[in-house]
Amino acid sequence: MRLDLRDVARRIARDIPDGAYVNLGIGLPTLVADCVGADKEVVYHSENGILGMGPAPAPGEEDPELINAGKQPVTLLPGGAFFHHTDAFLMMRGGHVDLTVLGAFQVSERGDLANWATDDASHPPAVGGAMDLAVGARRVLVMTTHTTKAGEPKLVPRCTYPLTAAGVVDRVYTDLAVLDVTADGFLVREMVAGLTREDLQGATAARLSFADDVGVLGQRE
């Protein structure tokens, strides 16, 4: 019943407008780029000073200095540009990036995001550009499994993990549903087929409300 995360990526890609400037968080969110159709021209931003990132280079063609935020080799498309770190974050913090897709440990019904620390004291903390992206991108989309591997809900009334930013998340895409963060909390827009509202609420710690026209979140669209 749960969607494969590649299908979640495909669903997110549908919501990325033609011409958007997009920053994809490290890890899962990078799957989204592969799902954006050739009918759209999307400019990918990287915090280390790149606009217009292209796909991974062919094996053997990697440039060790031309990497993305996840430190993986990338390429540059015609029209791309290099700039320094402070300008890269000016773009992020200043609202110039139209949209970001981020992973999450927890999202609260007020749009608070926790995605950088789990309070595991055996590992040093690390934050990177997560807080800048979360406060700065015009639209913050979260891509996540609906629950943890242990079955704990990730959509919660209040985050218990350390916050990345307060009140920033616009929409959450999980393997079970698409939910908007509204003034009244999570509003379900789409659900996978075969799931009842009670099932979804059961997998969610925050109280859900449902749109009048809840759509089907499908495997293949």
Binding site: V43, P78, G79, A81, L90, G94, V97, G136
Partner: protein, 222 residues
């Protein structure tokens, strides 16, 4: 597909509303987007707040806006020049409000807006008349003034070349306020001498990446 090129100066200034705050590039006569300002004049837009280093000279660009009484307020560092007759006339008559800002603070305030910052402390202007009424804080033994971000509704900028993504390069000292203003406005409109194909500008040498630019229009060099 991204194509920020527009066909005419009228298209370039389309939708700019009365009452807008307009950042106008240029330093003296260098890098001034003269034709874009004239297009705004032709559009009839009025009640403007104009942010620009100087206040125009002779009968063109910002001086023409002042002459035609389109400017409610001007924010600048150096409104006085040999030919700033229209500014002086309107200022003496009390018809235009002047906010005088040290030049570095003017530029830095626009950058703060571009960068999404809430303001900054600067030593510039501390203990002077231009800091009157502003918050003062001693930092590292030195008096600093708190300055607020200065965003534009619109930026009018002149550059040398652009591609369809709106990537820009400038020419010599005409660069001046362009890159900062382009990043500090909700709508950034740029006039260039030349359009080039996507990929023709070297990614190492693009000065203003297209992310800051909304419209580019070509103006034949005079």
């Amino acid at each position: 597909m991204i194509d920020k090129r527009v066909a005419s100066l009228a298209d370039a200034v389309e939708g700019i509303e009365d009452g807008a705050t307009v950042l106008v590039g240029g330093f003296g006569a260098s890098g001034v987007p003269v034709e874009l300002v004239h297009a705004l004049l032709d559009r009839g837009t009025t009640d403007l707040t104009v942010v620009t280093n100087n206040a125009g000279s002779g009968e063109t660009d910002v001086a023409a806006l002042l002459r035609e009484r389109r400017v409610r307020k001007i924010v600048c560092s150096y409104p006085r020049s040999a030919g700033s007759i229209w500014f002086e006339e309107r200022w003496r008559a009390g018809e235009v409000e002047l906010e005088l800002v040290p030049q570095g603070t003017l530029s830095e305030r626009m950058r703060a807006a571009a960068a999404g910052l809430g303001g900054f402390f600067t030593p510039t202007g501390a203990d002077t008349r231009l800091a009157e009424g502003k918050e003062v804080r001693v930092i590292d033994g030195r008096r600093h003034v708190f300055e607020e971000p200065l965003p534009g509704d619109v930026a009018l900028v002149k550059a040398a070349r652009a591609d369809r993504w709106g990537n820009l390069v400038y020419r010599t000292a005409a660069r001046n306020f362009g890159p900062t203003m382009a990043a500090a406005a909700a709508l950034t409109v740029v006039q260039v001498d030349e359009f080039v194909e996507l990929g023709e500008l070297d990614p190492e040498t693009i000065v203003t990446p297209g992310i800051f630019v909304d419209r580019v229009v070509r103006v034949e060099a005079a």
